[in-house]
Structure formats: C-alpha cells, structure tokens
C-alpha cells in the first residue's frame, strides 16, 4: 500500500502558521554522488557527508546571515539589558499610542509602554518557547519514531495509527481547546501542548529516515557481522538518520515561535503581564487604525526571527541534500 497521504517531508499542513515545512516534497536523500557532469574524475580525498555539508554552509551567505541573526537573538534573549536600559513593564499612560521620539525609537503602545523595550524583552519568550518545544518534540519524536522504524512490526503499526490520529486534529484548534482553561501564566503549558501535538511530525520523519538507513548495505554488513541491536542503532543508524530530523526540527523551531504568537493572539497562550510579541501584536490590533507602529515592530521582530530559523533549516537541508546541486 502506498502512503501518499503527504508528500515525503511534509509536515501536517495546518494553513494556520502552525507547523509547516519548507521542504514539502523535497525528500531528503542522503546519497552522495560525485558532482558535475559525467566523470569529473575521482575525488581527491573521501569527504564525509557532514564535513562536506559544513564546507558548503560556510560559503553560503544565507546560512551565515541567518546564523548571525539567531546568535544575536539568543544573546539578547539572555541579556536584554545589553541593548536597552528600559523596563518593559514601566509604562506611562499619558504617553499611550505616541509615535517615535528621542530615546523611544519605536514609540509607545496602548498602555504607554516603550515598544522598543517590550520588543527586545519579547525575544526571551519566543526563543525559549521555540528552543524548549523543539528539544522536547525532537527527543520524543525521534525516540518513538526511531524505535518504531528500527523494530517495525506491531509497535510500528500502532505508532503509525497514533500519528495519523494527531495529524487529523488541526493544531491551532487543539491549542485553543487545551490551553483555553489553563490558568498558569508560564511558558510550560504552551511548550507542553507543542510537544504533545508536535512529536508525531518528527516521529514520522525519524521513522522514515531510520527505515531508509537500516536498508543500507553497511548496516546489513554490520548486522551480518553480529553487531548487537543497540550497537547498530547507536553507531550505525542514528548518526546517518539524524540529518533529516535536524533539518525539520530547525524549521519547526521557527514555526513554534509563530505558533506561540498565534495562540497568544487568540488569547489562550501567554497573558499579560508576560512580555511576548504575540500579546503585543494582539493588543496592538485594537489600535491598528490609530497607531499601526505598535503592531509593526513586534510583528517585524517576530517575522525576522521565524525567517532566520526557517532559512537556517533550508540552508542546512540544501547542504545535506546533494541531489539538487
């Protein structure tokens, strides 16, 4: 039976800024063929997939720019005070909705808070939600998917059906239902929800990748030589099957940041006084006619952050997938 439910590598399309994948259909095959036209001659020295990819990435401006942007974002999410001396919660209602002025380049929001400071501090929530959710999803997903792909059989069938079930539930809808009654105003329920609904996506990728790798000759050879299952899995399969997971997880990280903002916009993610781009965009949307700057700055920051992660994942995928050179 074919499984064309989704083109390989497509992640539950939600049409909602929920999970998404750039590589719709761009199946990641990691076979290495000598580049160039028929016989550009033998290569001087054998190059591994990873060192080859790294050599490519170092020369790829897209990779360099997005990596630098991400580095910057991570730094200011750890230490926002590096680039702002303000306090995001110190607001002056008298200045509400005022535009740009000296010392306050982005102007003030509806509560009279400094938009620049709030935008800088908002990085922290977005980055931590993105990173933690991705870690959780990647660990849980590759563990379940990898084991199912390796052992096959009943567990594999059961896991496939379970992932089918999760794919049938629209992500934002699930988020609304689950988070609408949560009273805790921390990032943990949001992250928990993302891990709960996100793991099947990685699990499917990991499963496919492990199955492909398992069939390679060198794995068969190791098996024939009597390698134990755990040794096969850890030494031979995992290092070679992990590439697609990394690519998809990097792109997913961007989408989780977008999803957090979407949920906050819908009023079920994080709530004030937490400083988050989603909350700020949501409250700004009420003043969209009078003071569009309140919306544009956090929205711009959000878009740049998501873009950086997606482009990073895209660049890594291109480097790991020699097929399209």
């Amino acid at each position: 039976m074919p499984e064309p439910q989704q083109p390989e590598g497509v992640i539950a399309p939600t049409g909602m800024g929920g999970t998404m994948d750039l590589g719709a259909g761009e199946a990641l095959t990691l076979e290495k063929t000598p580049g160039g036209p028929e016989g550009t001659g033998p290569q001087e020295k054998p190059r591994s997939l990873w060192s080859d990819a790294w050599r490519d990435l170092r020369r790829n401006p897209v990779f360099i720019v997005s990596a630098l942007v991400i580095l910057f974002l991570v730094v200011i999410s750890v230490r926002p005070s590096l680039i702002t001396s303000g306090n995001p919660l110190q607001c002056d209602l008298a200045k509400a909705q005022e535009g740009s002025q000296p010392g306050h380049p982005f102007g003030f929001d509806g509560q009279g808070c400094d938009v620049y400071t709030r935008t800088v501090y908002g990085t922290r929530i977005s980055i931590s939600v993105g990173v933690l959710a991705t870690l959780g999803v990647a660990l849980l997903g590759s563990l379940l998917g990898g084991l199912a792909g390796f052992y096959g059989g009943v567990w594999d069938s059961i896991l496939s059906r379970i992932t089918d079930i999760f794919f049938a539930i629209p992500v934002v809808l699930g988020g609304l239902v689950l988070l609408s009654v949560v009273t805790s105003n921390t990032v943990w329920p949001v992250i928990g929800f993302m891990v709960l609904l996100g793991w099947p996506q990685i699990s499917r990728i990991a499963r496919g990748s492990v199955i492909t790798t398992r069939q390679n000759d060198y794995v068969q050879a190791a098996r024939a030589l009597g390698a134990s299952n755990s040794r096969l899995l850890l030494r031979h399969i995992a290092p070679n099957a992990v590439a697609p997971v990394i690519v998809v997880a990097t792109i997913a990280l961007g989408t989780y940041i977008a999803l957090e903002a979407t949920l906050s916009y819908l009023g079920v993610g994080l709530k004030p006084p937490t400083v988050s781009w989603g909350i700020d965009i949501s409250s700004a949307s009420a003043y969209i006619r009078q003071a569009p700057h309140m919306l544009l700055w956090p929205a711009g920051a959000l878009a740049i952050t998501v873009l950086a992660f997606i482009m990073l994942g895209d660049a890594v995928r291109d480097a790991l997938d020699p097929k399209l050179r």
Binding site: G35, G36, P37, G39, T40, G41, P42, R325
Partner: protein
Amino acid sequence: MLLEVRDLHVEFRTRDGVAKAVNGVAYGVDEGETLAVLGESGSGKSVTAQAVMGILDTPPARITGGEILFQGRDLLTLKEDERRKVRGAGMAMIFQDALSALNPVLSVGDQLGEMFVVHRGMSRKDARAKAVELMDRVRIPAAADRVRDYPHQFSGGMRQRIMIAMALALEPALIIADEPTTALDVTVQAQVMDLLAELRRELHMGLILITHDLGVVADVADRIAVMYAGRIVESAPVHDIYKAPAHPYTRGLLDSIPRLDQKGHELYAIKGLPPNLMRIPPGCAFHPRCPMARDVCRTDVPPQAEVEGSGGARRSACFFWRECLDGRHDG
C-alpha cells in the same frame, strides 16, 4: 559524409571549476556505416553524442568550439526550431536505461505515436496504428494489446525494444545508441543488439554505437573511435584495431578483456585512474598511465598521425604509434 564532427569542444561549468569534457573531437559516419565510440566513463563519448543530438543541458554545459555537419548543414548554426525538426526525424537517439528514459505516466503507444503527431501532423488514431506497427517491427508480442500499457509493465528487454522503435519511428538517417544494452541482462543483450543491427541494415541508416564493451563492437561495427579525456586517441577500421592497436590506451583496453584461450594468465589492468577533467594532464593526457611514456609525452600534445599503409583510414594520437603497432612495450 552523413555526419561529420569537426574539432568539437564542450565544457561544463560547475561550482568547483570548469570541466573540459570534450577537447577537439573529430569523427564522421557515412550512410549505412556503423561507428563504435569506445572509452571509459568520463571520456566524453556520451557528451559528444549529446552535443550532436543537441540535448546537452546548457548551462552547465557549453559548446565552446567546432562544427557538427549533418547532411551538409552545420547544426550548431541552425535556429532552435530548425534544429528541433532534425531531432527525431533526421537523427534519433537510443538511451541506456529505457525505464528512466521513457515517461512513466504515458502509455508506450502515446509516446511512440507522439513522433507522428508532432513531426508528421497525424491524427491520434493514425498515430496509434503506427505505434502498433512499430511495436510489431521490433517484435513485441501482442503489440495491439500492449500499446496501451505503461513502460513499467514491460520487461527490460521489451522496454529497450520500445526505445529502439521510438528511434526508428521516422526512419532517420542517423541513430545514436548510447550504451543500448548495458542495463540489460546478458542473455537479452545479444537479442537487442542483433535487432538493432538488423533494422539498421534494412533501413540503411548510419549508426553511432557508444559503448565500453569491446565484445559488442567486434560483431557490429565497421569503424572504431577510441576516446580518452575528451579526445579521440585512435580511429581505425574495426579489424585493424583488433589485429594490432596503434595506441597504448587501445592496447590496454584490449588486453584487459578476459579471454578464454588465456585461462590462468593474470588479467591485465591499465594502471591508475581516468583523469580529472578539471585538471587534464599536460601533453598527452594518457601519459601518467602509459607504460610507453617518455619526456615528450609530458610536454607536447601528440597530433593525430596517419598510420602508414592505411590509406588515411587509420589515425593514432600517439608519438610512438609505430612501436605500439609492433607490440614493443617499454614498461
């Protein structure tokens, strides 16, 4: 001459540099003649053929010089639309792997009939009848029933027959077959090769047979051109070459064929690897692997010398073709 390639140069521009795939190839085919082009992968034999057909991917490929005269016209100066009309009708190509060379989602009847629809303006119905006729001609059993089938429903040998039928459809003057039997089972190879040779005779077509299999060549070819690093190193009537090669590379190729009458002897292998086309050695490109190489081979490019006594039919690009012909090895 039906086809004459003169001093053809083709380059590939890749991210890692420029690969010189074809460096001044010249060969010709007469009507009704079979020319075998021999060489390792990377020797430029397929690239030359694709340049003749006009199906090189440009970029990355680029034809940087030369002429391709077909029935007196230089194909390289034709307008794209004129050139297109030559393809399929004037010359046709048979590819190595019929499974990937045939469109997987169109029936073989559609793909065969398409030739008549496009070049002859036939109706679909007439074209389909022609397709059945062609399939009969290449001896596909129950052609009328199978004309609606898709490529994956045929066996490898049958698929290659369909490939041949497609090439023969408009009875072109020239067929280029690029390793037509390499992808097939040994038992089927001979059948397909015989069929090709027979149809070529019937239709009196010129044939360029690209191969690395010397065994096939001896049976069907009239002339042989041996290619190395984008150049022709030796060209000669087929029997002359088998008798006594005039280039050390040809000798190496012949010596590396396993022979039943020399059982027990160690099989000869040309030492070293084919050259990197981005860094072709100066002088004679073969010198790093040549057992006869001397100082002059490392600095000067050997000219295409006419082998004496062949009446112009035989050429070798080796300074020391006489020694080679005599079988005197230095190494």
